[in-house]
């Protein structure tokens, strides 16, 4: 407290916490000007101690449960998640922009390459070559190897998530953490405050429901990335997926 020397301040807390009337009396004799302050502290400490929560009258039997991870998150986690996504996007963009052109194999005489066009004659191209090249062992490494097919991401398991008063980008960061999927918000997509309460739902359903409520459509890019664009598909489905309409032609309502 301002104006009270630190040593007296500490002494008053000590007296407030110890039930020693003799010590309190001695303090009041020596520092009468702090009597009121000491009394206030003693009352506060007494109230705090008396407000002690009870320990419960009956002990319920131990029932092993699985500790569920909290569905909330801290702002620090959200910032970290968004920062990671932004950094990954920047690295990916720079890699794509600076990637060297595919190396071309030049012959020593720089002879023009002959490209076989579509023809029915199996000899049409070979006839133009001076000598057939001798068979060689396949190289162990090439300058520009053919890109490997993108790994198919494992299907996401059902998700249980409850969030309130978070921005869409924060919610996506949490979904990213829970599902290992990446979410990219297209330019122009608003970042509204969203509310999520899903129990044991598939990611696709969650994205469709969120999109329906907050005005975007999530496109599955097939490599574990979803692109969110500011448009709303009334079916709430990924238009890349051909889903037949019901026999009556009406669109099913999304579950809430």
């Amino acid at each position: 407290m301002r104006g009270i020397p630190a040593s007296i301040d500490e002494l008053m807390w000590l007296l407030s916490e110890q039930d020693d009337p003799g010590a309190v009396e001695a303090f009041e004799r020596r520092y009468p000007e702090y009597r009121g302050e000491l009394l206030r502290r003693m009352n506060m400490v007494r109230s705090l101690r008396e407000a002690k929560a009870d320990e419960g009258s009956a002990i319920p039997p131990y029932r092993p449960v699985r500790a569920t991870p909290p569905s909330g998150f801290s702002a620090r986690q959200a910032v970290f998640g968004l920062g990671s996504v932004a950094l990954a996007a920047a690295v990916l963009a720079s890699w794509v922009a600076l990637r060297p052109a595919p190396a071309r194999v030049e012959t020593e005489e720089s002879t023009p390459q002959v490209v076989a066009g579509p023809t029915n004659s199996p000899f049409a191209a070979r006839d133009l070559q001076p000598e057939p090249a001798p068979p060689v062992d396949p190289p162990t490494a090439t300058a520009d190897p053919a890109p490997e097919p993108a790994p198919v991401p494992a299907p996401t398991s059902a998700i249980t998530l409850r969030l309130r008063d978070v921005s869409l980008s924060q919610a996506l960061a949490i979904l990213n953490r829970e599902t290992q999927r990446r979410f990219e918000m297209a330019p122009g997509l608003a970042d509204p405050t969203v509310e999520m309460d899903y129990f044991d739902e598939k990611l696709e359903y969650i994205l469709a429901d969120l999109g329906n409520r907050y005005g975007f459509t999530a496109f599955d890019q097939g490599d574990g990335t979803y692109l969110l664009i500011p448009a709303r598909d009334p079916t709430g489905r990924d238009p890349n997926v051909n889903v037949p309409l019901p026999p009556d032609g009406t669109l099913p309502e999304l579950r809430r």
Binding site: A53, P70, G72, D165
Partner: protein
Amino acid sequence: MTLSSSDALDRGISDPDRWLVQQAQGGSADAFTQLYRSYYGQVLRIAKGILLDADESEDAVQEIFHLARRNLPRFDFRSRFSTWLFRVAVNHSIQHGRGLWKRKNVSLETAAEIGHSTEQNWDREVVQTALAQLKREDRAILILFYWHDLSLTEIGDVLNCNANAAKTRLFRARDRFRKIYEEMDA
């Protein structure tokens, strides 16, 4: 702060629960149940002090004992079992509370109820409401000190810091509590 085995010996840590804990580590369900019954009340009090919600606290206590049982094989008596369990309780209660967005509503309800309370309960409710306005970390240190009567060294062990740091944190938490308490009590 971590204690080595020699630290524990130097500090004279003799754990009254050692035998039961060893039995539980060996797979005895009865021994763990006995530990559960011994500490249920204290762990519930920690959870209630941090979460300020009876139902949530009871759920949290079950989760805390589940965590304790799962991690018991790694407990190596560098501190007392009770200290270790309280550490699990504090950490899990704080973590559990982060998932609850209705805390603010609970606080407001509590504040509203004060207007209808009897004089006898006035102090208790003012304290509860003031605690509700503190951070969970502040609540944790206040209840360990004032409700569980742990020493600063024990609090340091629970909060994974040294006694001086625990003292500083206690002073700050107490000042914040006092400011709110006196505003409400005025």
